[in-house]
Symmetry: C2
Subunit: 235 residues, 2 copies
């Protein structure tokens, strides 16, 4: 084990019986045929289950839909790459020369995969209990500060559920304008509920994002309407 991986082990609070597993977990496929992809597969499974179990225990009031949303939010790539950055994992990765220079999304995805691979390595090295303790340590702050499950529902779905729940008409989404060159387009999207006399607009880098932003604005409007919003007329 090199000084580097020893330092990382200490920082992770781990003592590897087989340090080669940690080296393997840090090795991207661009650097070697013996890389972290199988460990990532294993670690992804361990992570999903350990987080499921933690949420089951901590959220007795949540149904399975809310538990699923909370889990998806915790184990998604963005969260994992944040954790990797906190651990300065990028300093320890073994990357091929091509990947060394890559930034942005590819880099985030490589970091997230390495977190999963380390989780897989801990499971192989020390068993389930040690792996569980490690994952709960990595996610402690996030598990102690869980969002409300409904915050994790996307605005279009929340708007639709609210309208259906109140016997209100559903919205239409229309793309009003697409501008910019093909690799950097901007979408002006409208969310309209003609029967309520309400419409909102949003501009975003994709149709989907524009619809979500317009739905969020519409949600604010319908939530602020009077108890009989079907009779109200918007501006």
């Amino acid at each position: 084990m090199t000084d580097d991986t020893q330092r990382l082990s200490r920082q992770l609070g781990l003592k590897f019986n087989n340090p080669a597993l940690l080296v393997n977990a840090l090795t991207h496929r661009s650097a070697s045929g013996t890389n972290n992809e199988r460990l990532e597969f294993l670690g992804d499974g361990a992570l999903n289950f350990i987080i499921a179990s933690a949420l089951y225990e901590r959220k007795p009031e949540c149904d399975e839909g809310s538990l699923s949303r909370l889990r998806a939010n915790l184990v998604r790539g963005v969260t994992l790459s944040e954790i990797a950055r906190d651990l300065k994992l990028g300093d320890y990765l073994n990357l091929g020369t091509g990947e060394l220079k890559s930034g942005g999304f590819r880099r985030d995805s490589i970091l997230a995969d390495a977190v999963e691979a380390i989780i897989g390595a801990v499971y192989l090295d020390a068993g389930f209990a040690a792996c569980q303790a490690f994952v709960l340590r990595l996610f402690k702050t996030r598990l102690d500060n869980l969002p409300e499950p409904e915050e994790l529902v996307d605005p279009k779905t929340r708007l639709q559920e609210y309208l259906q729940g109140h016997q209100l008409p559903l919205p239409n989404y229309n793309t009003l304008q697409v501008s910019g060159k093909s690799h950097a387009q901007t979408f002006l999207v409208e969310c309209a509920i003609p029967a309520l006399g309400q419409r909102t607009e949003a501009t975003a880098s994709s149709r989907r994002k524009g619809e979500q932003a317009a739905a969020r604005a519409m949600l604010d409007i319908v939530l602020s309407l009077s108890p009989k919003p079907i009779d109200s007329k918007g501006p």
Copy 2:
């Protein structure tokens, strides 16, 4: 614990410290608000991880793509409902009066969910090692007789990968004829590679199934072609 659940416990090779967990795992939401949906969420996570770990160990030669395919094949609903039928789990389910009569797909899905819920119950009742032993027992025959990972790739994908790998032109899929009434339509679908002078046809209950069947027939043809198939002309 009723005689019924005692009998099922024995049959599953389990001794529950908290038998209420097994009763809960067998209770569909149509029967009670205290049902198996949260246990199913937990058991789904445990099952996915335990199978991932078993495959990692048994298939050192498989990359993560093959491991994922093997796992998906083992944990999908069809496999779980087969396991449930082997266990005669249907005899032990607590269903609401509406669901008692339902058959077919709904019934299969309820059975599959109950298998996952029982796995979750075993984890809560006896911990990870006991849960792992239980899952490995349930899946023993299937784990001892794993298919080749490439058998699990659908024919359209296999055909495309083969053609790309041999610098051959890709196929077109065309629906030649749709017949029958809307609830029982039949699709005649063609897979054509004009540059190879090859075409196949298949009839199926959906466009997608027809394309897959036509692709499978085309795969047989291209695999039997000479090493320079681009020059050959089909019948």
